[in-house]
Symmetry: C2
Subunit: 202 residues, 2 copies
Amino acid sequence: MTAKPPWMIAPGTPWKVVEAREVYDNPWISLTEYDAIAPTGRPALYGAVRFKNLALAILPLHDDGAVTLVGQHRFPIPGYSWELPEGGGPLGVDPLESARRELREEAGLEAADWREVLRFQLSNSITDERGYGYLATGLSPVAAEPDETEALALARVPFRQALDAALAGHILDMLTLAMLLRAYHMAREGALPSALAKAMLN
Amino acid sequence: MTAKPPWMIAPGTPWKVVEAREVYDNPWISLTEYDAIAPTGRPALYGAVRFKNLALAILPLHDDGAVTLVGQHRFPIPGYSWELPEGGGPLGVDPLESARRELREEAGLEAADWREVLRFQLSNSITDERGYGYLATGLSPVAAEPDETEALALARVPFRQALDAALAGHILDMLTLAMLLRAYHMAREGALPSALAKAMLN
């Protein structure tokens, strides 16, 4: 792992909590309102949402350079969403195990090789949602098992077509955008087998 | 703009709302709990968080291939966070105007050239947070004006060093990760002036 560069020191004072009020709780999130003191010393109200699951994204990359995408209606967002296979992994469970399950359930795929290629926080201002992105290769089909609220469509698409559609604004899901760009970076930087990289970038 | 590929049809039924209960509201977010019907026909409880601001990220790219990063303590997340200049743009305000303001306030920079290079939704499961990423070039210094809760550090870093630090896990902020990868993609795909691309990739 690359060492942390010396300019990445952590100066100053963190936020301080004066009072916390629990507002809401369900099996997936909780919301707490805080009276806080900002690093500048100024009092501030803060409503923070805590997540009970990790956000996991899997890029299933086939030997011919295609990727498998999943289409579905998402609740919080208008319109239909094409994305990588994604899902929540309970905190305290190995995220790779949760990712294997999501790939099997949503895409009907198993992978011989898994690489963690992205580690992220999704919202810096309101939520603490964080997660991992995995590149899955050596794919083979298994029976898909979507959960009881998921009606999923599947598409097997050339990598370049998926990336172009995403950058044209047809895919808005940030995990998908970031993972496609990360895979592009890996293909260009020699981090993938050259035949696979060539098939992706064609 | 690339046309939407034909496989991106929107089959099936969207989610239906049976009942909505307002739970929480502050100047930045609201939380509503829903009794809903999933696309599969199954009843489901849903707690959804609505955002009152767009998420905006600006990649300030200097002529020598360096980028300006901002360091700060974020409330919802433990530890110190290095990021691109970012901030909230009120819904109903031109996001580019909000991005110009954020770049000036946080980084003390003005840009002659602005390009929207990423359009995204940050959470597909709980929130409707969405936003835009801009590449800002032709930079010149102005007085920084952080708001009353922001204590910011600034660093001017070679692009490659920022990208490597991010991919090594030293930068977790997803907007920053995605925007650095997007700029890498642009540099590699001939979407930037060749001298600038060369300086970034060195």
